[in-house]
């Protein structure tokens, strides 16, 4: 097990390095630079600023300099925001983490029970109703859901704000929007997993032995039926934590998602690279964590 984890970690480092290299090159292929703006600056000023960030050097030289910075635990400075990238990430990450955890909690609390219920009441109105809602949750994009919640729910409930990030109640609507699609996917995946398990011989045996139906579901069926959902939760969690540009801008959440889009638009090379490294590392770790949990849940994988 330990060997597998170490091997997966090494693979993960290689993946993140490749991701960084590709991002590093691609972002420099885009027209423009961090210093071009609506009002043009004098050429000698642009040159000076390029020198400050080593952007006057060749791409390969820049990459070596950047790797040197990384080796010292430094993500560099943002040429656009005039701040260390690590500071920008440090300030934005807590909001993304809170939002991601709240969104995933909502998705798990709604999605998994809905999926189980749907599977237990297969082909009933409950099943059809749940799956229709799930399909709607998957299909309706967040840029539709978010303004609807802000405009029609927040304005009617005084404790909620249409946007802002001051107290825990401000987490509710963005987390709901963020978790909605994940909840819908989870409901469908859980339903599929549960249906497969519920048709197994050992479940039939448990019923025949007189085990209470609730016990059959929680003790026997759920353990196997939830495996596809757990496999999905890992990467989904990483995606939720890394933020969402749309939800962050609509609900005014000071998270990480907007850096991805804004850094690309502003050619803020260092911020974009920093965010990519972080996102890549998250996805690698989330997948690894999901694999470990799957091994714990499923003895067959262990062997």
């Amino acid at each position: 097990m330990l060997r597998t984890i170490i091997s997966r970690l090494i693979q993960g480092i290689v993946v993140v390095f490749c991701l960084l290299l590709i991002t590093f090159m691609l972002v420099r292929l885009m027209p423009g630079d961090p210093f071009s703006g609506d009002k043009a600056h004098a050429p000698h000023i642009i040159q000076k600023n390029k020198e400050r960030f080593h952007l006057d050097k060749s791409n390969s030289e820049q990459f070596v300099v950047y790797l040197g910075l990384l080796a010292r635990g430094d993500l560099g400075d943002s040429p656009v925001k005039e701040q260390p990238v690590s500071k920008i990430i440090r300030h934005s990450f807590p909001a993304s983490l809170i939002l991601g955890i709240a969104g995933m909690s909502f998705a798990i609390l709604i999605g998994i029970p809905a999926g189980i219920l749907s599977a237990l009441r297969k082909n009933s109105y409950i099943d059809y109703g749940t799956m229709v809602i799930a399909m709607a949750g998957i299909s309706i994009p967040s840029f539709v859901v978010a303004p609807l919640l802000a405009g029609h729910v927040a304005t009617r409930i005084p404790l909620l704000k249409v946007a802002g990030w001051g107290d825990p109640l401000d987490w509710v609507l963005p987390a709901l929007t963020l978790g909605l699609a994940t909840a819908a996917y989870l409901a469908r995946i859980t339903r599929g997993g549960m249906l497969e398990v519920l048709n197994q011989d050992y479940i039939r045996t448990a019923h025949a032995k007189g085990v209470k139906p609730a016990m059959v579901v929680t003790k026997h069926a759920l353990r196997g039926g939830i495996i596809p959902a757990v496999a999905y939760i890992g990467p989904a969690f990483a995606m939720l934590i890394t933020g969402s540009f749309i939800i962050e801008t609509i609900f005014q959440v000071p998270g990480m998602g907007q850096h991805f889009v804004n850094a690309t638009k502003d050619r803020d090379y260092f911020l974009l690279q920093g965010v990519v490294i972080l996102f890549g590392a998250f996805i690698v770790f989330a997948n690894l964590a999901a694999d470990i949990i799957l091994v714990m849940l499923n003895p067959r994988i262990r062997s």
Binding site: M30, P31, G32, D33, F35, S36, G37, D38, K39, A40, H41, A42, P43, H44, I45, K48, N49, R52, D77, V80, K81, E82, Q83, P84, K87, I88, H91, S92, A95, P147, A150, G151, A154, T155, R156, I157, P158, L159, K161, V162, A163, G164, W165, T249, I250, F251, Q252, P254, G255, Q258, N262, K265, D266, R267
Partner: protein, 540 residues
């Protein structure tokens, strides 16, 4: 079963109570505490007045720092004393003396002296500092040469401090509008003792602007700065005119989504929005007219021609395209913000009469195009470079339609994201391109200097020696009125050659809460916060 009913009823009652209860609007508590809450578009680039370049940063820096002169709260062009309590110029406005107030202090209580100004101007002009907006100080003798590294000795630059509280500025030309320039953040003083504590003078990215380190001289000081969340300032107890300041603080929110910002305003979370999307103006007019502000703004929207393009070298083609644009229709149907059709580059003021060269005349436009050889089956085929912003998309489509309708021209639109658009324009890799310009100070030169040969903002390939001679002549003219007449001639010449099509003069559209007092229309939208007050109103 009874339990289930009880729980259902309880939940129902809670929901009804939540929906039914009327809490105090969030903005009222801020109004009571005299904290102004403003939407401010996006996270600022920084708070160092000598590094930043934008309006967003200016809105915050104006609260934290103060220049030699201060904007009048309601009268454009009237200069109130700031750090300087008095000033005078020689006859031809080339030598200025500013007498600094002796009670001027930094927020840590240290006196603010002429030495701070010398340090500030040396810092922004230092070649190694690389300030993007150093050119704002190029009016000072020797400033440009020092900034370009051509002279090393700062004492050769035209600023000096004969004594602790006197600042002398020698200019390379006649600049009667210098007091206006000193209101721009590039001319503000920065605290020498704090900057040097955290790094070298020419070093950027030092932590001196962090909340626990920054020292400023404006009506407010920085209290909190939460990235992408808010910036909070509070009243500066060391400010020389603290008795005038009514607000206890200002909170700036970087709300990039204009719809979110409007929703927050309507939900009573803001005192003022940064802007208002054109689609929301009608809605605001209908339902929230008492909050809607539509004010003249010092800016011009135009279309650039690449005059080096073989098709567009012909003046008649450029004129035809210009005369076929119906600015009125664009304002009425697309912008809806009370903008004014532009007939020149410089927005007219009381003193400056903008030459009236461009107006909608489709018949003459068609004739000019025919004279240029576009008759019968020969159609004009051109491309229009645009950005991916919503308004730009709609403007491009309107121009395309007008040129098709009035000239039969085939126009293809190239929409590019912002940096690609800028890069293509700077490289003259376009035929026609959307453009706009916001003035830095209320003088025609802020709109005319950019068209000089080689200026980075020209981006048309146009160049004219007579135009530059007129601008040079204006610089040497002592009489302010005669100077403006020469600038009018220069603009007339510029417009007759038509490297651009002026389309409309900007307005600012935003929402302002009725509890805000002392907030009047200003051409540059640069409201001096020290005159702003908040008053709780019962029926707002």
């Amino acid at each position: 079963m009874r339990h289930v009913h009880f729980i259902q009823i309880l939940i129902g009652l809670c929901v009804l109570a939540l929906i039914g209860c009327k809490g105090e609007p969030p903005i009222d508590s801020y109004t009571e505490k005299k904290i102004l809450v403003l939407g401010n578009s996006t996270e600022p680039q920084g708070l160092d007045p000598q590094i930043v370049t934008g309006v967003i940063e200016s809105n915050i820096i104006r609260a934290l720092f103060e220049g030699l002169c201060v904007e009048h709260p309601s009268k454009q062009g009237v200069h109130l004393p700031g750090v300087a309590e008095a000033w005078q110029a020689n006859d031809d406005f080339t030598e200025w003396t500013f007498y600094l107030r002796k009670d001027g202090k930094w927020s840590d209580g240290k006196p603010l002296t002429a030495e701070d100004f010398l340090f500030s101007y040396q810092r922004i002009l230092h070649p190694d500092f690389g300030a993007d907006y150093a050119s704002m100080l190029y009016y000072i003798k020797g400033a440009e040469s020092y900034n370009k590294g051509e002279i090393k000795d700062f004492s050769r630059v035209g600023v000096s401090a004969p004594d602790t509280y006197t600042l002398k500025i020698s200019l390379k030309a006649s600049i009667p509008f210098l007091p206006d320039l000193t209101k721009h953040y590039t001319w503000y003083p920065v605290p020498k003792h704090i900057i040097l504590k955290h790094g070298k003078m020419e070093q950027r990215n030092t932590p001196w602007t962090e909340p626990d380190k920054i020292v400023s001289n404006g009506a407010f000081v920085l209290k909190q700065w939460r990235l992408n969340d808010y910036i909070q300032t509070e009243k500066n107890p060391c400010y020389w005119d603290k008795d005038t300041v009514q607000l206890q603080g200002i909170r700036f929110l970087p709300i990039s989504n204009q719809y979110t910002e409007a929703r927050m305003f309507f939900n009573q979370q803001l005192h003022a929005t940064y802007g208002l999307a054109p689609e929301m103006i009608e809605h605001a007019k209908d339902k929230y007219s008492k909050y809607l502000r539509q004010e003249t703004y010092l800016g011009t929207n135009f279309i650039r021609f690449n005059v080096t393009d073989p098709l567009l070298m012909d003046l008649r083609v450029r004129q035809a395209l210009a005369l076929a644009i119906d600015s009125e229709a664009i304002i009425t149907h697309i912008l809806k913000g009370g903008q004014k059709p532009a007939y020149g580059m410089v927005p007219p003021t009381d003193d400056y009469r903008t030459p009236h060269v461009v107006s909608f005349d489709p018949i003459r436009a068609k004739k000019l195009l025919e004279e240029a050889g576009y008759t019968g089956n020969k159609k004009l085929r051109i491309t229009l470079l645009s950005t991916d912003r919503e308004v730009s998309k709609r403007l491009s489509e309107a121009y395309q339609d007008m040129w098709k309708k009035h000239l039969g021209a085939e126009v293809s639109i190239e929409q590019r994201e912002w940096k690609t658009y800028l890069s293509r324009m700077s490289g003259l890799d376009y035929q026609l391109a959307l453009g706009g310009w916001i003035g830095d100070y209320p003088d025609p030169t802020t709109f005319l200097d950019m068209w000089k040969t080689g200026d980075g903002n020209n981006r048309t390939g146009w160049s004219n020696k007579d135009y530059e001679l007129l601008l040079a002549e204006a610089e040497q003219t002592r009489n302010p009125s005669a100077r403006l007449r020469i600038l009018e001639q220069a603009e007339s010449l510029f417009l007759s050659e038509m490297p651009i099509i002026p389309v409309y003069w900007y307005t600012t559209n935003y929402l302002l809460h009725t509890s805000v007092l002392g907030w009047h229309p200003l051409l540059l939208n640069n409201h001096p916060y020290k005159f702003v007050d908040l008053e709780l109103k019962e029926n707002h």
